[in-house]
Amino acid sequence: DGTWGEDSYEQLEEALISADLGISITQHIINDIRDRYERGQIQTSTDIVAATKSLLSVYLNDGAPHTFDYNIAGPTVILLVGVNGSGKTTTAGKLACMWQREGKSVVLAACDTFRAAAVEQLKIWGERSGCQVVSAKHGADPASVAFDATQAAVARKADILLVDTAGRQHTKKGLMDELGKIAKTIGKAFPGAPHEIWLVVDGSTGTNALQQARTFGRSVELSGLCLTKLDGSSKGGIVVAIYNELKLPIHFVGLGEEVFDLQAFDPQSFADALFT
């Protein structure tokens, strides 16, 4: 249990920055800790660690709860979006498996009609989960595949429709507009849908994830986040900055490449793991 000195603040700063929390959140936390220390509210480095964890937990608990509501009248339509390689297709597959295990009927929509073998990849997850995959041939218009999948899910009275989309950089206006069109077209097939639009963020991403969330959020109404690859060495701290600014609930965390490697997001344990 060490005494706290000026260079201790630097160690704290290093730990927070190294967890990809970003400068702004880090500075707020350091200022808050410094404030409490100078008022004698905390004294030892054990106090500081505890205070930091509780601050992080407050950041992640102060706003929308990390849950969503299932649609009551028809399928819950969930659209997965995000930059290239973030883990959308794999997350769609894991979610399908999870809900299938819970006795829900799930339909998968293969709306990445662009990337090589994207449909094949999702179809394998369809086999793994025992869920129907609605797809079209390579190069088809993603919005029309989304339309057909939505109609099919409604007709089949499915519980969940998971719409996988092609990865895209938020710097590409045409691709961002396409996403808006996909969401709108889903609404034409089933008014009120999509009920959820989740940004899938790679846990090893740095500060760019905040920019991703802001920019994707201008093309579609994001309603939540999934954070993947948290089994890696990264702490995924950028979600704190994203949540702080945009209050997007973090629904699920990816912890590997297999069927069961998905967990509901828990702010407390995430905060604990972030700063150890």
């Binding site: 094949e120 950089q169 090893s204 760019n208």
Partner: protein, 291 residues
């Protein structure tokens, strides 16, 4: 951008030409924030700032005619120098030359394998790519589809063989069909997964590659140091390819990975199309990182 901000900082000082140590301290704080904001690793930023600060506190800057300008120049020149050279070559010693593509999940290895094959093909090289990702669903399909679309021969084996025999077969085929280069696409893996890193160490031993390229996402955060260090320590990588530069990540990971491996960034990925592989320019990367 940082250059403008530093210019303003210095211009707001008294009209006298000279800078004080305090002025330099303030400027270094700005630079530090810019680098951290660009995702350069915390420790790497610390080292860089202390080196640059020392130079800026030297006679040559402080007593120069336009010390503010000099200081800014020291920062950007140092960063540019750290980023390495442009057109760092690929080494083709063996016939066929083998290139292993390695990196984290989703970094762009498969796409870049096809792009690199296309690029080398345009230079007159005969290339065979190998689908050695036996893990990811439809990974082989993905590389084969890219191969069909862009006329790139692909060697694959769906009979449950192991990596080493697949690459061994590919080399044999390449030799018989007079190929110059064999590019091996591997499965994404965590740098901290010892078993999967050992798999690559074993593959390296058995396939004797001329190049081992770490394919990394430009948006990679603070763990870029861990990623580069683990892969380099295990495999002695020969180069880096930075992908998704067409996004707006500042790309600080590039500086971190350069610092800890000393290896060159040999190409950048600037999009999803087959021709979206470009030369790396250290000056452009430096100014992008500085913002």
């Amino acid at each position: 951008n940082l250059s403008d901000r530093l210019n303003d900082t210095f211009r707001n000082l008294t009209g006298r030409g000279s800078l004080t140590e305090k002025n330099i301290e303030d400027a270094m704080r700005e630079v530090r924030l810019a680098l951290l904001d660009a995702d350069v690793n915390y420790k790497i930023v610390k080292e860089f700032i202390s080196e640059v600060k020392e130079e800026c506190l030297g006679e040559r800057v402080l007593k120069s005619v336009a010390p503010g300008q000099q200081a800014i120049k020291v920062v950007s020149d140092s960063l540019e120098k750290l980023m390495g050279e442009t057109n760092a070559p690929l080494n083709f010693v063996n016939k066929p030359s083998v290139i292993l593509m390695v990196g984290l999940h989703g970094s762009g290895k498969t796409t870049t394998t096809a792009k690199l094959a296309h690029h080398l093909g345009k230079q007159g090289k005969r290339v065979l790519v190998v689908a050695a990702d036996l893990l990811r669903p439809a990974a082989i399909d993905q590389l084969e589809a890219l191969g069909r679309e862009h006329n790139i021969p692909v060697h694959s084996d769906r009979t449950g063989s192991d990596l080493n025999s697949i690459v061994h077969d590919a080399k044999r085929i390449a030799l018989k069909s007079n190929k110059d280069v064999v590019i091996v696409d591997t499965a994404g893996r965590l740098e901290i997964n010892q078993e999967l890193v050992r798999e690559l160490v074993d593959l390296k031993k058995k396939s004797n590659p001329d190049e081992i390229l770490l394919v990394a996402d430009a948006a990679l955060g603070q763990e870029a140091v861990s990623v580069a260090t683990h892969f380099d320590d295990a495999l002695d990588i020969t180069g880096i390819i930075l992908t998704k530069i067409d996004g707006d990540a500042r790309g600080g990971a590039a500086l971190s990975m350069r610092r800890v491996t000393g290896e060159s960034i040999k190409f950048i990925g600037v999009g999803e199309k087959i021709e979206d592989l470009e030369a790396f320019y250290p000056d452009r990367m430096a100014s992008r990182i500085l913002g």
